[in-house]
Symmetry: D2
Subunit: 309 residues, 4 copies
């Protein structure tokens, strides 16, 4: 298989991103290539050196992954084709033979810290913490003997010859990270009935009051938003672009009409894809907003124009 059919992901090996990617059946037949950063993973796709890239988009505790938001909002267009939700639970990885009382130093990526803080205070109150570049890199440094233990995904243990001493460590009960598989734009796959659509748009002028007008384009068509993030455009304080997700699929009339409404108002709307929801929650359009309602309305309008009342 040519390199151009590879999938890249935010590496190194053993990260949660790799674990998320491996949950996708279509990844089984691909070469999975870890990249040093989100931009590197995405640029490989842009340059045609990979078919798709798996990157984290948001976390229920930490919020949006800003670098992913910003990278998708600018540069050569890319679209999301799949999403994966991964519950965040850490394992404490140690070299074989290490016991809890042997642990004086622990490491992990700084993002892991809020998730394990309470566990640490309770079980290893005296261990000293030092940050590593990624959870997987922390595991590698445990392997090399630099630290006694690393917090990482349990799946990372085998790769670094370590053992999970404790598993399922997490402070927030429902912590979950959302990952997206991103590809070059192509004909959008048809709706599954439980889809999500992602967009980036900039307000038409410089006061965020315009946001209300834009939300109404969704509201009048009964389209619910499931995520909304504002990010600076770089043109000055108070100048934002918005990154949002809404329920439904661009090929569904209510979503398509809302998007067209946005595109008439906003100087720039970037379509980031329609794809199956990882949670499988089916769309339940409000009365009057199903595809057949739109079809019936178009037929009615045609009859009015023709005088067939």
């Amino acid at each position: 298989m040519s390199p151009s059919s590879n999938y890249t992901y935010l590496g190194p090996e053993g990260t949660f991103t790799e674990a998320a990617l491996r949950t996708l059946p279509e990844a089984a037949a691909r070469v999975l290539v870890p990249m040093i950063s989100v931009p590197a993973a995405l640029d490989a796709v842009r340059r045609g050196e990979a078919a798709a890239a798996m990157v984290p988009l948001e976390n229920s505790v930490e919020g949006a992954v800003l670098v992913t938001l910003d990278e998708l909002a600018t540069g050569e267009p890319l679209t999301i084709v799949r999403e994966v939700f991964l519950p965040i639970a850490f394992a404490l990885l140690v070299r074989p033979g290490t016991g809890l009382t042997d642990i004086k130093t622990v490491t992990a990526h700084p993002h892991a810290q809020p998730q394990v803080r309470r566990w640490l205070a309770q079980h290893l109150p005296d261990a000293s913490w030092e940050s590593s570049a990624s959870n997987a890199d922390g595991a590698r440094q445990v392997q090399e003997g630099r630290f006694d233990a690393a917090f990482a995904g349990e799946f990372a243990a085998a790769r670094y010859g370590l053992e999970p001493l404790v598993t399922d460590i997490h402070d927030a009960e429902s912590a979950v990270t959302r990952f997206v598989l991103v590809a070059r734009p192509a004909r959008v796959a048809p709706p599954t009935g439980a889809d999500r659509t992602s967009l980036v748009f900039q307000l038409p002028d410089d006061h965020p009051g315009a946001l209300l007008q834009l939300l109404q384009e969704f509201a009048v068509r009964g389209v619910n938003l499931t995520r909304i993030e504002s990010r600076p455009t770089g043109a000055g304080l108070g100048r934002y672009f918005f990154s949002i997700d809404c329920e439904g699929h661009i090929a569904e009339a209510r979503v398509g009409e809302a998007l067209k409404g946005l595109s008439r108002i906003c100087p720039d709307v970037r379509f980031l894809g329609s794809y199956p929801r990882a949670d499988g929650v089916p769309s339940s359009p409000r009365p009057g907003t199903a595809d057949e309602d739109f079809t019936r309305a178009s037929d009615w309008l045609a009859r009015c124009l023709d005088g067939r009342l």
Copy 2:
């Protein structure tokens, strides 16, 4: 010419409605047939016995002509094809030779009274008033000698052998009546750039709070309403249908989309026509709502679906 090409109007001869009808060039070649009532004028069209009917729709002082609203809202569908604004100014019609001091009794339709009350108080404080069935009928009774003077349109004088003793009598400076020419449904004539569209719709459920939702279908597309009337549906207090006019033409995208939005929500929407505005005020669509904006948005959506970002 066959009777079916006649135009009917709210008679009798000499009414303002006839005067309004005669302002239309297309009426010049028609036989104009006075009818005893608005329903009679409209039903002749419905039965194919006339090509169109001229009826009053609203008056800037008296408000909507309810019988016209109600007749257009129910029964076999009809559509408005033209509108005429007629400033309301009365002449005091007398038999030749009559002077102001000879006038002891005056007559006119009760609707005329608020328009001439002030003039009467000033110039004929002692004259006694008696109502007639129509202004034209009042003129006829002056001709017959039953009254000394009648308030009517100046144009009615000749028909009844009377003379306009005083002209341009009106209390409200800007009093105007709006008449509409109504025909059987046919292919709608194309937009002129200064059009109006009329509609009747019923709220989807029984609380008028739903009105807000419907007005938003117009607002998000930048379509202004120029008239709104509520009328009982007959199903109980608080149950209304609405009769409205909006700026623009059904063949213009922003209007067509607003109408489709309404039709998806309301149990019953009746299209009453798109036709040139009598005041000639051109539509000036809000930014993002011109036809080319809708076309551009549709193209953009098609490109999104195709992956041509």
Copy 3:
């Protein structure tokens, strides 16, 4: 008792308005004075010659009683203190001894006609109809022998020495007329928990798009409208004032705040009263809009200002 404690009503004696007035316990001890017109009934109150006036406001079949709307919207302020719903059902009143087959001529006020048309077609297809000035006046003319039968309220029979030959005649099952008792402004009686509030206001500028903004003043506070009528201001086509009813009482915070919102926007708002609903439907404020929610919000704001967070 002095005349100034009388109640006037739209006469003559025997009208539905009188019947509506007599349903009010407080009317039992008053002298009830029929007046020739709605303006006459109201002006007696304005001049202090009566304590209150009963007039019809709207009918579920015919719609608003325009003269009442217009009279309340202008002139010396008056306020509604009670409302009465009266189901509209007619009796066929005849001179004693008259049978159905004896009836060749029938009469009633023109408003009665749509309500009895079907019954007439079925039971008296050959009787000729002539309109009378009021239903009560029709009964009087039957008494005098001018007509064979009159449609009127059953209660009118005794007054004119007639007999109800047939009762409970009505075409629309649920036809009902709403009457209001109107008095000079005074301190508003406290809420009963099932109240209604009436208002008249004019849009801030000349395009009815402003209507949306005004409805939102009600919507954000969860106040439902139960009636909305537009009437011309007389300043030209497309210039309206609105006459509305909403659920709740001016002394309830959500209603008071909505009214204050209106009054800040509209050049002129006229309060027409808060009074018990005739249908007794209790207000059920949306979450966050009960009086205690407003009190709690005010307390919270005071704490914020004081730094007591």
Copy 4:
């Protein structure tokens, strides 16, 4: 002066935050204490060990400073009392005697990199970059001889015995950082006429469609938002709190009423302060939303209740 009257700030010495703090006249008489992190600076205030803390809130290029948003949204309440806008421009600091051609290694905080990237590529294409913990720390390491040059604020030169070799380096023309001075809650200072108000609130239920309803609480009172950020509540994907700024002061009626509206709807609203705008842009309330309009509306309501129409 007791330590409790000190001001803390995000250190170390020589940061832009210190520079922002020194622009405030009230800081001149205070001991300014650098702290290792935003939480450390704020917690000193919470514990009463400092009177106020200066921290960065957002940057026109990087966006919100998430740690500041999150720290203000939770824990013991604090309020913003001042804001400072600081244009971001870097100086290249070197040891005395160093010329541009001598520079092989440069350092700065990672956040500085996007701002100086273009300058570096043009003037020092071969220099190697290594990140430091803060810009000030980079300067210190230049002093110690570990790097040849550091990007930092020009004001940091003197402190570390360095010289600004090049000044006013920035890629984005209008890059600016907004800092806020945060204190324990106290009676809010009166409006200056050019104020801003900050808030944190959580949506009443779990679908962001509720956002529209909340924005309308501001819109109906004509209050513009100048910043809106969503952050995860930690309760799961799609569960947000919002951190916003709006124009105006809590003691101004339109703002106070909007805040009360929010507080009635949202389970939890946290007031983060009303304070003078750094840009001095005066509030220009929409017609009908000035304080006197609210006062007039309250008076009108009182008259309605009293019957003084």
